[in-house]
Subunit: 330 residues, 2 copies
């Protein structure tokens, strides 16, 4: 999809937890919380609170009130997306729940862009979140077990990111691609990077081919959240198909934490990882003029504990968004 | 949202299980299955198969191949929407996962309509499903317990419905409204009708008011799935606000089963209930000219077992779609 009158980002907000505040992108968060429960009674309520805060900051940044937002697209990793429901309940904005696992930030942004470009609304917001503690107990083992993590495992970010789209912002949503579900049979739930890398390769290859562009046309191609294992697979797969991404690629899962000092194994993950890296770090760099033309390619692993227990593989998906600023732009 | 060049329904498919095949709408299903496991090894795989079959039938009906569909919007009640992922995996259609609980059919239809109207794609499909056995064991108790159901409980339909949108069909998607999350504090998970009725009242009232229309302008206003309890609350709430829906209202949850003969308590529910009633019964009636202008108002309860256990209420949501045929139309 190429947007004829590209919607622009008129506000964004990124929030994170304690570990995120100790990482290399700490300064790019709008707000971080030292208490991972955010003074609520459960981690689930805390995750909902993260979305609420991210939306509040993005709205403040855009100078808008909730009633001025025509639609909000939101989703998260929790069963039935309850972080979104309970986090956004009080805003009373027409709500369209999305599920794309860790690809949700790209998906919500894509949908919001379509609403604004098609004039279905003047403004639309996109938000997602994840929380280390809610994800561990839902998808893996209760934290109290103290289970040992494998080297391929990634660390679910405790974070949320929100963008508000409308007219007049500096960063434009220029193009978008909705990915297909890709399943190469990877079954190890402790190796999500490997499960999602084929989808990332598929969508990025398709995008470059559809637009007749090559990696050198971009200032950066950012996947999220392949981590170390998935990144190697992505770069290798694309290299085998004649595309060298190595010079301008980075992965949100590798950017959010300092893997030397922070015990995150293969990198960060979770909807909140790529969401907070985009809404904090990347958009700030674009606004400062350091990046003028990037691809944001969030990846998701479409599985549940039930599908795992029933022996299904882990299908992946990747949606691609091109963001540009006037500085380079057309 | 009012569609300037309304997308049309060019194909639809509805499938159901044994209980649905014994109900009053049996003849309107494209296919029903006597074996609730659909020859698969689990109910979850069976539910994925229901979506796959509904899409196959809708595509056949539209005379299109999967590669001719530009986007598919899908969602279901299972954790992480695995029925959609595994059901649609092999179609290789760009996939955008939606979560709106039982409102998903209206939501996917709305999103598909926006994609076609905005020319983001020439065609788009919308599909959702539910399965009594997967829903019971995920949300309530394992079937093996033989737990007794309360009179307010509804029966999750084992069914799926799919529509394909494009140009040239008889039934047009004329207008749509994305609902807000409404939470009046209902906490009983065995009374979803009561939890969703306020959202239905809110969205229908808003739609009538936005369009300056009244119930008599429509041949039918169909909610899904409020059941008996929710329907009474909806009619009462709207009556208190000066809107009399009683003459032209019906609820998909009350239409799918014969409550005298079939033991479904307060009525049917689940994404597949309103989806199959729309894609089987209602669209056939529109094509036969029996209905020319209807509102389809699917309702969802946005909760999870975790939110329940943590004492949260059950917020509801309702999206409204207006469908018209030339017969009456403009």
């Amino acid at each position: 999809m190429e947007f004829q009158t590209p919607p622009t980002i008129i506000g964004h907000g990124a929030v994170g937890g304690r570990k995120e505040a100790q990482g290399p992108l700490a300064a790019d968060f709008d707000q971080t919380f030292d208490d991972t429960a955010l003074n609520t009674q459960s981690w689930e309520k805390a995750e909902a609170q993260l979305q609420k805060e991210a939306v509040a900051l993005a709205l403040h940044n855009a100078g808008l009130k909730p009633a001025q937002i025509d639609f909000i697209f939101a989703g998260d990793l929790l069963n039935q997306c309850i972080s979104s429901t309970f986090g956004l309940l009080n805003y009373q904005i027409p709500f369209l729940g999305q599920y794309g696992a860790c690809s949700t930030m790209a998906q919500t942004l894509l949908m919001a862009a379509i609403m604004v470009e098609s004039a279905a609304g003047n403004t639309a917001a996109a938000v997602t979140s994840s929380h280390f503690c809610t994800a561990e107990r839902q998808f893996r083992t209760p934290l109290e077990y103290g289970a040992q993590r494998t080297p391929t495992a990634q660390w679910t970010a405790t974070a949320s990111g929100c963008v508000v789209l409308g007219k007049g912002g500096k960063v434009k949503v220029t193009r978008g691609l909705a990915g297909k579900i890709v399943d190469l049979g990877v079954k190890d739930p402790a190796n999500m990077g490997a499960a999602m890398a084929p989808a990332a390769a598929d969508s990025i290859y398709q995008f470059l081919s559809d637009t007749s562009t090559s990696p050198k046309d971009y200032d950066g191609i950012f996947t999220g959240d392949l981590g170390e294992v998935g990144t190697k697979l992505l770069l290798g797969t694309l290299r085998d198909n004649g595309v060298d991404l190595s010079k301008i690629h980075n992965d949100c899962g590798l950017m959010l934490y300092d893997r030397e000092k922070q015990d995150v194994h293969a990198g960060g993950s979770g909807c909140g990882c790529s969401a907070s890296v985009l809404c904090g770090h990347l958009l700030r760099r674009m606004e400062r003029g350091e990046l003028a033309n990037i691809l944001f390619c969030a990846t998701g692993a479409l599985m549940s504990t039930t599908s795992q227990q029933q022996g299904e593989a882990i299908p992946g998906i990747c949606h691609v968004i091109q963001l540009t600023t006037e500085a380079r732009g057309s």
